[in-house]
C-alpha cells in the first residue's frame, strides 16, 4: 500500500491514574490508517483496543491522558487537542463511532428522528424540512423500512438489530471520513450480526469510508477486514493484511489466539488454551509483554522489548523470533487447518 495514510499514530502512550496508581494502557503504539481500508483491531479485554480508538476522538475518560506521541489527521495533531471546541471539529464530522450496546447508546426519551436530526443540526446546520428529508434518506440508507413512521418512534419500539441500525445512521449522518465500530455486533444474535456486518460493508463501499473495527471475534474479523492489528497489553504485536495474519502469523500471541478458536478444536481432545493471565499494566513491563505466557519465549524476551520486524511491506510483528539469530520456531501445526478446511 503506497497510499498516504488518512490517520497516522506515532509512538502513542496513554496512561490512566487509578486509585493513586498509574496504569500504562497504550505503550508506544504506531499505526497508519489508509484511506478506504477496513482495519480490524483484535485483542483480549484490557488490551487497550478501545482506549486506542477513543484517543482519536478525544473520548478518554477524565482520569486518562495522552502521555506522549502524536495522532496526525489532515495535518493536525489530535494529541494536542485540549478543548471541546477543538474536538467538535473532528468528532462526528470527521470520525464517527458505533458503540457496542445499542440499548444504552441511544437516548430513550427522544424519538429516533430527533436524535438523528440533532447530529445533522450540529454538524451540517440542517434544520426544519431539509433536516427531516435528510433523516428519511439516512434511515432508508441503513435499511429501515417505513422511515417516515419509524422516525417518529422511540428507541424502545425498536429491536436490538434495528437499534444498531439507528446508531449507525447517526454515525453516518455527518458523512464522516472514518467510522470506528467498537464491537458493533457483540450484543447481537448471529443472524442479526450477519445483517449488520453486511450493512456496514455496503455503506463502506458506497461512501468509500475508512473503517476501524474493534472486536475479539476472529470470525467477524476474517469477514470484514482488509488489514488486522493484534493488540496485547497495550501494544500492537502484529499487523498485516488479513490473509497474512490468519494464514502466516508470526507472533506467538497471534498463534495462541488463533489456535484457541473452537473451530480448530477436535472433539474429545483438549482445545488449545493460553496459560496464565495478561500482565498487570500498573507495573512496568520489561521485554515482551507476552513472554511469561509464551512457550517459545527466548531469554531476550524477558529483557528487551522486541522491535517491529518487517515480514513483507504490509506485514510486521514485534517478536524476537523474527530476528535472524533466533532459533527457528514453527507455528502450531493446527493453524494449517485454517487454510484448508475450516468450515463454520
Amino acid at each position: 500500500m503506497d497510499q498516504e495514510p488518512i490517520l497516522s499514530v506515532q509512538h502513542l502512550n496513554v496512561k490512566f491514574s487509578l486509585r493513586g496508581k498509574v496504569l500504562h494502557a497504550i505503550r508506544d503504539v504506531s499505526l497508519d490508517l489508509f484511506k478506504g481500508e477496513t482495519l480490524a483491531i483484535v485483542g483480549e479485554s484490557g488490551s487497550g483496543k478501545s482506549v486506542l480508538t477513543k484517543t482519536f476522538m478525544g473520548l478518554l475518560d477524565a482520569n486518562g491522558w495522552i502521555d506522549s506521541g502524536s495522532i496526525f489527521y489532515n495535518g493536525h495533531d489530535l494529541a494536542q487537542y485540549k478543548t471541546e471546541k477543538e474536538w467538535l471539529t473532528i468528532r462526528g464530522k470527521e470520525i464517527a463511532m458505533v458503540l457496542q450496546d445499542p440499548m444504552t447508546s441511544l437516548n430513550p426519551l427522544k424519538t429516533i428522528g430527533a436524535q438523528i436530526e440533532e447530529a445533522l443540526k450540529l454538524h451540517q446546520n440542517l434544520t426544519g424540512p431539509a433536516a427531516h428529508r435528510a433523516v428519511i434518506d439516512i434511515l432508508t440508507d441503513v435499511g429501515i423500512t417505513e422511515p417516515e413512521r419509524r422516525s417518529k418512534q422511540y428507541p424502545h419500539e425498536f429491536s436490538g438489530g434495528m437499534r444498531q441500525r439507528v446508531v449507525i445512521a447517526i454515525a453516518m449522518a455527518c458523512k464522516p471520513q472514518i467510522l470506528i465500530c467498537d464491537e458493533p455486533t457483540t450484543a447481537l444474535d448471529v443472524t442479526i450480526q450477519a445483517q449488520i456486518l453486511h450493512l456496514i460493508r455496503n455503506l463502506v463501499h458506497k461512501y468509500n469510508l475508512t473503517t476501524v473495527y474493534i472486536t475479539h471475534d476472529l470470525g467477524v474479523v476474517a469477514n470484514v477486514a482488509d488489514r488486522v492489528a493484534v493488540m496485547y497489553a497495550g501494544d500492537i504485536v502484529e499487523i498485516g493484511t488479513s490473509r497474512e495474519v490468519f494464514y502466516d502469523a508470526k507472533h506467538p500471541y497471534t498463534w495462541a489466539l488463533l489456535s484457541s478458536l473452537p473451530q480448530l478444536g477436535v472433539k474429545g481432545e483438549k482445545l488449545f488454551s493460553i496459560q496464565g493471565t495478561p500482565p498487570n499494566l500498573f507495573l512496568e513491563i520489561k521485554g515482551d509483554a507476552f513472554a511469561p505466557r509464551n512457550p517459545h519465549a527466548l531469554k531476550i524476551d524477558f529483557e528487551k522489548r522486541p522491535p517491529l520486524f518487517s515480514v513483507s511491506p504490509t506485514h510486521s510483528a514485534r517478536t524476537w523470533l523474527l530476528h535472524p539469530d533466533a532459533p527457528k520456531v514453527e507455528p502450531p501445526p493446527v493453524l494449517k487447518r485454517l487454510v484448508q478446511e475450516v468450515s463454520l
Binding site: E44, S45, G160, D189, V190, T191, I192, Q193, A194, Q195, L197, H198, H216, D217, L218, G219, V220, V221, A222, N223, A225, S242, R243, F246, Y247, A256, L257, L258, S260, L261, P262, Q263, G265, K267, K270, L271, F272, S273, I274, T277, L338, V339, V342, S343, L344
Partner: protein, 315 residues
C-alpha cells in the same frame, strides 16, 4: 447410539408461560427432548427463543404451564414432595452466564462455594466443610488459598471457575450451563471449555449446554437442539446437524456464523428465515423423527421433502 440407554432427563411437551393468566405470553410452547447420561446436550437459539427459560424450568426456577420434566424416572416439575425437591436441588446444578454478576460481591469465596452445603449437608463440621471447599477449588484449577478472598480479586475466567466449583461441591449429576463462556475472552474461553470437558470425563457429568455460539456448540456438544420462538425446529447429532441441516431456520442460523478464515468470507448476505414460507393453515406441523436420532419440525408435505433430501444425501 442412544436407543438402548434410558434418558437421565426427559422433557415432554414442556410449556412455560409468563404474564398474567388472562394475557399469557407463551415462552415455551411444547418442547420435547431426552438427555442421556454422560452426554452434552446443546440448546441453541437466538435471544428470546426460550432456551434459558427451558433450562430454568428444569431446575424449578420457573413454574411450568404444562408438560413433564422427568429426572431419573421421577417427575420433577409441578407439585413434588419436599424430599424430592431437596434431592434434585442437589443433583441438578446450574452455571450462569456472567461471572461478574452471579457471585455475591460481599461474600468470600469460601462462603460462595460452600453456601449450598449449609442446606443440604446440615450435619457436617466446619473442618469437613472447609475440606470440601478446598477440594472443589482444586478440582476447578484454583488454589485452596483463594477461599479467603473476595470475588473482585479474580479475573473473569477465575470467577467462572468459582461458579463451577460452587456447582461441583454439591456433587451433581446434571449441570445446566447457561451460556457459561459467552462473557469470557477468547483465550479464557478455551480454558473453561477444557475444564468442563475434563470434569465431565472424570465425574461422568451430564450437561445441558445453552448457548447462541454455534462454533463453541460444535466443539463441545454431542447432540444439538435448535429452538426458535419457544419451539424446537430440529434436533440431531452435532455433525449431522452441521452437515445436513433440514429445517430452513437451522440453515439460516448456520449460514450466519462467520468463518474465521479470510478466503472463505461470505460476500452475500446470509440466508434469512421467513416464517411465512410455512403454510400450516390446513396441515399443522408435527415433531417427527425423520431418521434415527434426527428430529425435525414440519407438516406432512415438508417432511416428505426432507425425506427426499435424506434419500439423496451422499453417504
Amino acid at each position: 447410539m442412544s436407543e438402548q440407554k434410558t434418558p437421565l432427563l426427559s422433557v415432554r411437551d414442556l410449556k412455560v408461560d409468563f404474564g398474567t393468566r388472562r394475557h399469557p405470553f407463551h415462552a415455551v410452547k411444547g418442547v420435547s427432548f431426552d438427555i442421556f447420561p454422560g452426554e452434552t446436550f446443546g440448546l441453541v437459539g437466538e435471544s428470546g427463543s426460550g432456551k434459558t427459560t427451558i433450562g430454568r424450568a428444569i431446575i424449578r426456577i420457573y413454574e411450568t404451564a404444562g408438560g413433564e420434566v422427568v429426572f431419573k424416572g421421577q417427575k420433577i416439575n409441578g407439585k413434588i414432595s419436599k424430599e424430592l425437591d431437596h434431592e434434585i436441588t442437589r443433583k441438578i446444578q446450574m452455571i450462569f452466564q456472567d461471572p461478574m454478576a452471579s457471585l455475591n460481591e460481599r461474600a468470600k469465596v469460601d462462603y460462595i462455594v460452600s453456601e449450598g452445603l449449609y442446606n443440604s449437608h446440615k450435619g457436617i463440621s466446619k473442618e469437613q466443610r472447609q475440606e470440601m471447599v478446598h477440594q472443589a477449588l482444586l478440582d476447578v484449577g484454583l488454589l485452596p488459598e483463594f477461599a479467603s478472598r473476595f470475588p473482585h480479586e479474580f479475573s473473569g475466567g477465575q470467577r467462572q471457575r468459582i461458579g463451577i466449583a460452587r456447582a461441583l461441591i454439591m456433587q451433581p449429576e446434571f449441570i445446566v450451563a447457561d451460556e457459561p463462556i459467552s462473557a469470557l475472552d477468547v483465550s479464557i474461553r478455551a480454558q473453561v471449555l477444557n475444564l468442563l470437558a475434563d470434569l465431565q470425563q472424570k465425574r461422568g457429568l451430564t450437561y445441558l449446554f445453552i448457548s447462541h455460539d454455534l462454533s463453541v456448540m460444535r466443539f463441545i456438544c454431542d447432540r444439538i437442539a435448535v429452538i426458535h420462538k419457544g419451539l424446537l425446529m430440529e434436533l440431531a447429532d452435532t455433525e449431522t446437524l452441521f452437515r445436513h441441516p433440514l429445517h430452513a431456520y437451522t440453515q439460516a442460523l448456520l449460514s450466519a456464523v462467520p468463518v474465521p478464515s479470510p478466503d472463505l468470507k461470505q460476500e452475500q448476505p446470509p440466508l434469512s428465515y421467513d416464517e411465512s414460507i410455512h403454510d400450516y393453515s390446513v396441515d399443522p406441523p408435527v415433531w417427527c423423527e425423520i431418521e434415527p436420532g434426527h428430529f425435525v419440525r414440519g407438516n406432512q408435505k415438508e417432511l416428505e421433502a426432507f425425506r427426499e433430501v435424506l434419500r439423496e444425501k451422499p453417504e
